[in-house]
């Protein structure tokens, strides 16, 4: 199991165009973070290209948030090199962080202050932020996330979704080069989720690199240009989303009454025959599934089947869905929605 994961990772990484360091917004080499004897992150090599929307996927507890904490200097790595926006971390923390907006493990606010009060407070904590434009920037950020009407309300009275929006507003108080969003749609309704997606797209269109962690595959698939997949503290795959999708095993489905013969032909061609799921096939035929089509042109397979006398009543080539790909990378128990 472990070996196949590593192999998949190497495959996907090699296919990605080799990026130079200056093109990367986030770069880690051999990043390790341990808590006592338990290792949360086991030597990951992240490469997040500038200008990309990078989906950081993985099941709950796979080390996503820990990685983000280390990237932002909240926790220190046990070993490994980290560069954020081209500068060495955590040495350059003070000069890098003003260019980074972040939402880490849910929103955290002073419940006894208003939405505006909270943002004023957090903006004041940044010595690089101009105090003369503070009120205006806070106002704009609240407007962008649709919280203007609740700006004066105490955060105590906010719903989880409103707090999440306030957290996003905080990340956007200043124009940022990099946004790190940890589970940004947590607690949001479908409408809010779509708004976040649009917001991420518009930010990316403006040139901001967005690093978004999620355990929801559908969410990542809809807004990300690049993906990294975490499983049990390891980065098992990363690269442009299209490459990951095509790295999955495509398969053929043959509709035929001659099941045994078809299976023999597929085996001879190097495909792995199996039973196709959901065989509600017409004319009393059975579907035969052949995985491992890579290297074969579909019509060759059909020709071979026909030449052996297999009565082919249906033939389809199916690409692996991203979902199957992720389940194969991260194992069962992966929380997939959509």
């Amino acid at each position: 199991m472990n070996e196949s994961r590593t192999a998949a990772s190497v495959g996907a990484t090699e296919r990605a165009a080799p990026a130079r360091s200056s093109d990367l917004a986030i770069e880690t080499h051999g990043l390790v973070k341990r808590f006592g004897h338990r290792s949360a992150v086991e030597g990951i090599d992240l490469a997040v290209p500038r200008g990309s929307v990078f989906g950081f996927l993985g099941p709950n507890g796979s080390g996503k948030t820990t990685t983000i904490r280390v990237l932002l200097g909240l926790a220190s790595a046990n070993s490994g090199d980290i560069r954020v926006l081209g500068r060495e971390m955590p040495q350059a923390l003070a000069s890098v962080l003003p260019g980074v907006g972040a939402l880490v493990e849910g929103p955290g606010f002073y419940t006894f202050l208003s939405g505006t009060g909270n943002l004023m407070r957090l903006d004041a904590a940044d010595p690089h932020a101009s105090s003369s434009t503070r009120r205006q920037r806070v106002h704009d950020a609240l407007e962008r996330v649709g919280l203007s009407h609740a700006a004066g309300k105490k955060v105590r009275a906010y719903s989880l979704g409103m707090k999440q929006r306030l957290g996003l507003a905080n990340a956007m108080l200043r124009p940022r080069e990099l946004l790190v969003l940890d589970e940004p749609t947590n607690g949001l309704d479908p409408q809010g989720t779509r708004e976040v997606r649009n917001l991420v797209r518009s930010l990316a269109a403006g040139g901001t690199t967005v690093f978004v962690s999620s355990h929801l595959l559908a969410e990542v698939e809809q807004m990300c240009s690049h993906v990294g997949v975490m499983s049990a503290g390891r980065l098992v795959a990363q690269g442009p989303i299209e490459e990951l999708r095509s790295a999955g095993q495509a398969h053929v489905v043959v509709q035929t009454p001659d099941v045994n013969l078809a299976s023999q032909v597929l085996t001879r061609l190097g495909l792995v025959p199996g039973e196709a799921p959901g065989t509600g096939s017409p004319w009393g035929t059975t579907a035969v599934l052949g995985t491992g089509i890579n290297g074969h042109v579909p019509e060759e397979i059909v020709a071979a089947l026909v030449a052996e006398g297999v009565r082919v009543r249906g033939f389809t080539v199916e690409n692996a869905s991203l979902e199957e790909r992720f389940v194969s990378l991260t194992g069962e128990g992966f929380d997939v929605v959509g």
Partner: protein, 289 residues
Amino acid sequence: MLSAKANGPTREGAVRPGLGWALLGSELAVLFRRLRTWAMLIALAAVPILIAVAVKLSSRPTAPGRGPLFLDRITQNGLFVAVTALVVCVPLFLPFTVGVVAGDTIAGEANLGTLRYLLIAPAGRIRLLLVKYAGAVAFCLAATATVAASGALAGVVLFPVGPVTLLSGDTISVGESSLRSLLIAAYITVSLLGLSAIGLLISTFTDVPVGAMAATVVLSVVSQVLDNLPQLEWLHPWLFSHHWLSFADLLRQPISWTSFGENALLQAGYIAVCGALAYAKFSNKDVLS
């Protein structure tokens, strides 16, 4: 609606980093806008009023030497209400409120989840620690000033006010005696600085503010208990509460500054040691709250 306005990575809203006075201002604003802070200050303000009213209503004059220091003098001169109230508040009420504020400094932010956002802002760990301590110091000042001011007010309203006879037998004017009251308030503020530093240190070790508050208050009680055990006399000069009530020197003519200096030195020692330990702990801490 989240607006889809594009936003480029420009440096709009950025200035050259200043000293970060804005964070200190924000810290004070948050501290003194908090209901809890006001509740504690109001409770402290009530102490001198309670004392003054109780003495006023009581028919029997207080016998000298019974009750808190200076209590017997209140009926003759209202100016003593403030001093008596400060004496009453020093052992428990003031350490309690200061413990709440100092214990809350880092642990409270961690508990709210705001610590990570302050650090990402980036507030800077050393700067945040300094600002948090400055906030605690401001509260010490506010707390003692509240007791002194409320005491002065209650004294003026309920009792005759006149020249004050000092411990040395000299008599000073009303104006000068007010100045002496302020000096005593300043003395007690300084007394609480060491405890604040201890609270800050404890606060860096936990994400549970109530725990840090309780530990700080308990330590202040333990220190005073130890200070009363004659068997531990060698330890007494090192206890942060050792000089807490030694402000009688400020009621002599001329003023003797010896105890003020000794107290300030002791508190500075505690600030230096606890501050250094808090820095060592906090600068390497993994913020996982």
